[in-house]
């Protein structure tokens, strides 16, 4: 929950009204500020020059993606003048909050598969695309699903399938581009297996290697059912054991078969451990307990920064990808809604993108980030070129030395090979039950 409902400026008369009750604040702003100042300023065009009152606005954002990076909140205050409060939550909790406590947030930083679950609740309002300044800079993945014109569409909850809605009040998704965005895309990446090349000593090219008996007792998979099942499906398909209609929306039979293959492997001692948290995956890999496992990009960077060789191995079957964006609460209106649009336009204008890209994620509007990255950083992270000097992350940690090349290469090499997007299945509850049986078996 938010700790500070009120603005920062105690001299302003608005603050006192705000402290009383939240609804009081909103009414006040709608009636007093938005009516008079907001509308007047808005007619002046973009960027808006607001009165002092903008400083009293606090946008409350929660979510999974970048909601735990405080630098963004500080920069918002600096560049835009209003307050952004951020609360980091796990994926399940964000979905629950959006549905059950729509008044507890202004902006939801959520993943696309979460939107598929929650859009029907009507608690989010769509974005008016015509008010997005950098819409034309957003990559095709979040428009027609195609990164390049000749790209093939991936399985699962691909962002473009849940990215648009037909009208301001619609509770369903549109088939193609409309003027109404359900989420404004912000962050995404392509996930694959992490390996210890020094302990494996031969090339790894397929997801099937996760269950290769050669790595008996030395492999691991993540124990978060919704993502673990996708990695498992990538493996089963690569082994040629199962052909899926859609890995992102499996039938009960497909779930049963997938779980059966993994249960058998578990009984044969294939897995050293299952991991649930980022740190566990780093420890398993760095200690050498595990030589091949599902992994996340920053975890690989962490292992490498310890001086231990670890590769985020591109595989011939492609990547499992995920994407997130910002959603707007239905309750947002008036000056606060304007502030939210201001924030989102600022978000896509490059500074945040640079912050994300220098951690190994991608920005939805990558071009705008270029100005906020050095040529060397852009070359390394986006173009897949060899680093000319040390690569430092936004928090000052050295990630790579000069000469290093990003695993998987350039943006187009990596995002162009997405096989499947994180998703929520129709048989979700059944899948969770089967996954828990697998873990307990």
């Amino acid at each position: 929950m938010t700790s500070k409902e009120t603005g920062q400026d105690p001299t302003s008369g608005v603050s006192e009204t705000e402290t009383a009750v939240e609804t009081g604040r909103r009414k006040f702003i709608k009636r007093g500020v938005a009516g008079a100042v907001g509308a007047a300023a808005y007619s002046g065009g973009f960027p808006m020059i607001w009165s002092q009152n903008i400083k009293n606005i606090t946008l409350r954002q929660f979510g999974t993606g970048v909601s735990n990076i405080n630098e963004i909140g500080q920069k918002v205050k600096e560049d835009l003048g209003f307050n952004l409060e951020m609360t980091a939550l796990d994926t399940d909790t964000t979905a629950q909050r959006v549905v059950t406590q729509p008044k507890s947030f202004d902006i939801a930083d959520i993943e696309y598969f979460t939107v598929k679950k929650v859009w029907g609740s009507g608690n989010l309002q769509p974005f008016d695309v015509s008010r997005l300044k950098y819409y034309d800079k957003i990559v095709g993945i979040f428009k027609d699903g195609k990164l390049t014109p000749d790209a093939t569409l991936a399985q699962g909850t691909a962002p473009h399938t849940v990215g648009y809605t037909d009208s301001f009040d619609s509770k369903s998704f549109a088939d193609s581009e409309t003027n109404w965005y359900t989420l404004v895309p912000t962050i995404y990446n392509a996930d694959t297996l992490g390996i210890r090349p020094d302990l494996i000593g031969r090339p790894i090219e397929s997801w099937a290697e996760l269950l290769n008996p050669e790595f008996k007792g030395k492999s691991s998979i993540l124990n978060i059912s919704s993502i673990g099942i996708m990695d498992a499906a990538m493996v089963c398909e690569a082994m040629g054991e199962i052909r899926y209609g859609d890995k992102g929306n499996m039938t009960k039979e497909e779930i049963d078969k997938t779980i059966a293959i993994f249960t058998e492997a578990k009984r044969n001692g294939q897995f050293r451990a299952f991991w649930k948290s980022f740190d566990e995956s780093v420890n398993l890999m760095s200690s050498g307990e595990v030589v091949i496992q599902s992994m996340w990009s920053p975890a690989v960077a962490k292992v490498r920064s310890m001086g231990i060789p670890c590769v985020y191995q591109p595989l011939k079957e492609g990547y499992r990808s995920w994407g997130g964006g910002l959603g707007l609460s239905r309750n947002l209106s008036g000056l606060e809604l304007d502030a939210a649009y201001e924030y989102i336009n600022w978000y896509l204008s490059g500074w945040v993108g640079g912050l994300l890209m220098r951690q190994g994620y991608y920005s939805a509007a990558p071009e705008t980030s270029k100005a906020f990255m050095s040529e060397d950083e852009w070359g390394y992270w986006f173009e897949g070129k060899a680093a000319k000097s040390d690569i430092i992350d936004p928090f000052g940690n050295k990630l790579e030395s000069a000469g290093a090349v990003r695993d998987g290469g350039s943006f187009y090499d990596r995002m162009g090979k997405v096989a499947c997007w994180n998703s929520v299945m129709d048989e979700n509850r059944y899948m969770i039950r089967k996954w828990n049986e697998f873990v307990a078996s």
Binding site: F274, W275, V439
Partner: protein, 285 residues
């Protein structure tokens, strides 16, 4: 007959404790019991009265499997903590004669408790790992050629961690019982010709029963409800009742988790009831 004022005063004195227990103990259990009959969907709890949570629990083969492994963890941990705890307490009570040393050694036993549970558990990981202390030590002295894989992320590791974490809960009550034993009883037994074994079996163990039962209740209830140790030390590859419950909680299936909790509560209460039948702890304290 007590006067009405007396009765009133007594109930007034009892009220604060009763209030605390009602709010922080009774109420949560009633809530859990009530929620266990609710229905739920992906986002919300639906107040209702349905048996589906219990039906799903009892119809799943996984439930029986995890209860079996939880009982196994509890049984083994109980056995080893009892053996080690009894031995340590016996040494402290009967072999250390100076009061000062007794106190010092007893304090020594509690030192590990100055760090958190989690850290004491995680500390085993670098010790037992594939390239850990034990494996590299054994390999260096040539006892084994390849690292022993079963040391870590195994049932062995889980039980080892439990024994390490909970032995003190056995030592303390048993030591306490032993210190209450009248030494002249032992002298009399020895004078009457009893050997060391006989003294142990016929005097010390019977008189330590309350301590043993209290320690057992501690260890068994702690292990039955655990989820962190099992999760961490088995590398997520084995499950206990607590792990399953925690999974359901994380997936927002609160009613299902509540049903789990109710069943676990009943099972643990049954175990405690049986233990209390063995020894009347209240009478012997």
């Amino acid at each position: 007959m007590r006067s009405l004022a007396d009765k009133f005063l007594t109930s007034l004195q009892v009220t604060p404790l009763l209030g605390v227990l009602a709010v922080f103990f009774l109420l949560p259990i009633v809530v859990i019991l009530a929620v266990s009959f609710w229905d739920y969907n992906e986002f919300s709890l639906l107040p209702d009265f349905v048996w589906t949570n219990y039906q799903e629990l009892f119809s799943s083969p996984v439930t029986y499997k995890i209860y079996l492994s939880t009982f196994m963890f509890a049984g083994l941990s109980w056995l080893f903590t009892l053996l080690i705890g009894f031995t340590v307490a016996y040494y402290l009570a009967f072999h250390v004669h100076s009061k000062l040393w007794q106190t010092l050694l007893f304090l020594l036993c509690t030192i590990p408790f100055l760090t958190s549970n989690l850290i004491r558990m995680i500390a085993w990981i670098p010790v037992l790992g594939r390239h850990g202390l034990v494996n590299s030590g054994l390999q260096n002295i040539g006892l084994i050629d390849a690292p022993l894989e079963w040391l870590l992320y195994s049932d062995f590791a889980v039980v080892l961690a439990f024994v390490h974490l909970y032995t003190l809960f056995m030592v303390v009550p048993i030591f306490n019982s032993m210190m209450k034993i009248d030494r002249s009883l032992i002298e009399a037994a020895v004078d009457a010709g009893a050997g060391g074994w006989q003294v142990l079996r016929q005097i010390i163990i019977p008189l330590c029963k309350p301590g043993i039962v209290i320690g057992s209740i501690f260890v068994i209830t702690l292990v039955m409800g655990d989820f962190v140790t099992v999760q961490t030390m088995s590398g997520g590859q084995n499950a206990s009742v607590g792990v399953a419950m925690n999974n359901k909680r994380a997936l927002l299936q609160y009613p299902a988790a509540a049903a789990d909790a109710v069943v676990l509560l009943v099972v643990v209460l049954l175990i405690v009831a049986v233990l209390m039948r063995v020894v009347n702890v209240r009478k012997e304290l």
